[in-house]
């Protein structure tokens, strides 16, 4: 079994009309055994930037701690929050630093940039950025997620419809993957509010 599949994970980020949604599954496993069903994979860096980390749990936690540290330092020095594009570059740089001994994580970054334009991107474990205009996926269920998102996505969705589409795409994909699932965690972010919702799917 690959090290990326040790803990199991599923992540989506999708762009809507002046908003974005970022969603993850909730399972923490050790190969075939499920340890917890309330594991958090999506972190808020600040009100307009969210980071999802799939892959090995310990590296996701270490990477998150390093990024929060760097962002807090940035906030102290620049007296403002990081733009999502900048944050993505920071993540990419941190990952490439460990090119020959990498963090076994695949991050998904979603945020509202200048003039609240939604921004999403993903990268591989050594920091190769992949910007997308519609959706990005990561995790053990990524192949199913690509298919589900491609089928269900349409541009310029309102937050409510976006939430429905992201939830359906996430749940239907993790149901085909034994290493991810046990519910879902969805954040829908608009310029004025952040709505966090827990999904109940097949609990197995």
């Amino acid at each position: 079994m690959s090290i990326f599949e040790y803990n199991g994970s599923a992540l989506i980020a999708m762009v809507g009309k002046n908003c974005f949604a970022i969603a993850s599954d909730r399972r923490l496993g050790v190969q075939l055994q499920t340890i917890a069903t309330d594991f958090q994979r999506i972190y808020k860096i600040h009100d307009k930037v969210f980071l999802g980390l799939s892959g090995l749990g310990t590296d996701a936690q270490t990477l998150y701690q390093r990024l929060v540290f760097r962002h807090k330092l940035y906030q102290l020095r620049e007296e403002r929050d990081m733009k999502p594009e900048t944050f993505a570059s920071l993540v990419s740089a941190l990952l490439y630093e460990k090119r020959f001994g990498p963090y076994f994580c695949q991050p998904v970054i979603a945020g509202l940039g200048d003039e609240d334009k939604p921004f999403i991107c993903t990268m591989d474990s050594i920091g190769a950025k992949e910007l997308a205009k519609d959706f990005v996926v990561a995790g053990t269920a990524s192949e199913s997620l690509y298919g589900a998102c491609e089928a269900m996505f349409k541009p310029d969705m309102e937050p409510e419809e976006l939430f429905e589409i992201v939830s359906q795409a996430l749940l239907s994909s993790v149901d085909r993957d034994c290493l991810s699932g046990w519910g879902g965690h969805v954040y829908v972010v608009t310029p004025t509010e952040v709505r966090e919702r827990i999904l109940k799917g097949r609990m197995d």
Binding site: Q33, I35, A36, T58, Q61
Partner: protein
């Protein structure tokens, strides 16, 4: 194979560990205490390579004591858990420790808590957790009978059910277990569950 498990009850946390010190096919002793009292209100139940287990838990214990000496107040359970994870994570890519830890503690402000810390430094706060081959039995038993806010009698009964299950179904089941609890009155040994007592030397 080493069995460690624990759960959180109403105002207390309880952990149980087997007490066999095994080297290949030989049982050196069957009264090895694998649950260390970290400080007045914390317990650390560890399983893994014996040298690493003793060395690492003693290192954590001394550092937790040092913090208290330097700062005049004890660490919270969450802080101790994060410190432990940090030490494991730092050592992971240099000189890894093969120790799995369940850290149980009681804080006045937040009550009892239990932290699951993998040998690769995955940290998660849980209501019930287990390590080793015994976890396949004890986790399922706890999934069936656990509910939040169990009384001490109910929790000890559940621990006993898990021990019976391990003894019945695990091929190389450890014969003896130690149970420790931590609540507002502190961390202490609760009971032993012995089915084989170490023979004392018969004088001629």
């Amino acid at each position: 194979m080493e069995c460690v498990f624990g759960l959180v009850g109403n105002g207390f946390a309880i952990v149980a560990a087997d007490t066999s010190a095994v080297h290949s096919i030989l049982v050196h002793k069957s009264n090895e205490d694998k649950i260390m009292v970290l400080d007045s209100h914390k317990l650390i139940a560890a399983s893994g390579e014996p040298g690493d287990r003793v060395h690492f838990t003693e290192y954590i214990q001394k550092n937790v004591a040092l913090y208290q000496f330097r700062n005049g107040i004890p660490l919270t359970t969450a802080a101790a858990a994060n410190f432990t994870r940090g030490e494991l994570a730092t050592a992971l890519r240099k000189n890894p420790y093969s120790v799995n830890i369940l850290l149980a503690g009681y804080d006045k402000e937040t009550g009892p808590s239990l932290y699951y810390i993998d040998y690769i430094a995955t940290l998660h706060k849980v209501d019930k957790g287990a390590f080793g081959y015994g976890s396949y039995f004890s986790l399922s038993m706890m999934d069936r009978h656990f509910h939040s806010g169990m009384s001490l009698e109910e929790a000890v009964d559940l621990v006993d059910k898990c021990i019976i299950e391990i003894r019945t179904r695990l091929v190389v089941a450890p014969p003896n277990f130690v149970i420790k609890i931590v609540d507002k009155d502190g961390a202490r040994e609760y009971a032993w569950r012995e089915s084989i007592k170490d023979m004392s030397v018969i004088s001629s």
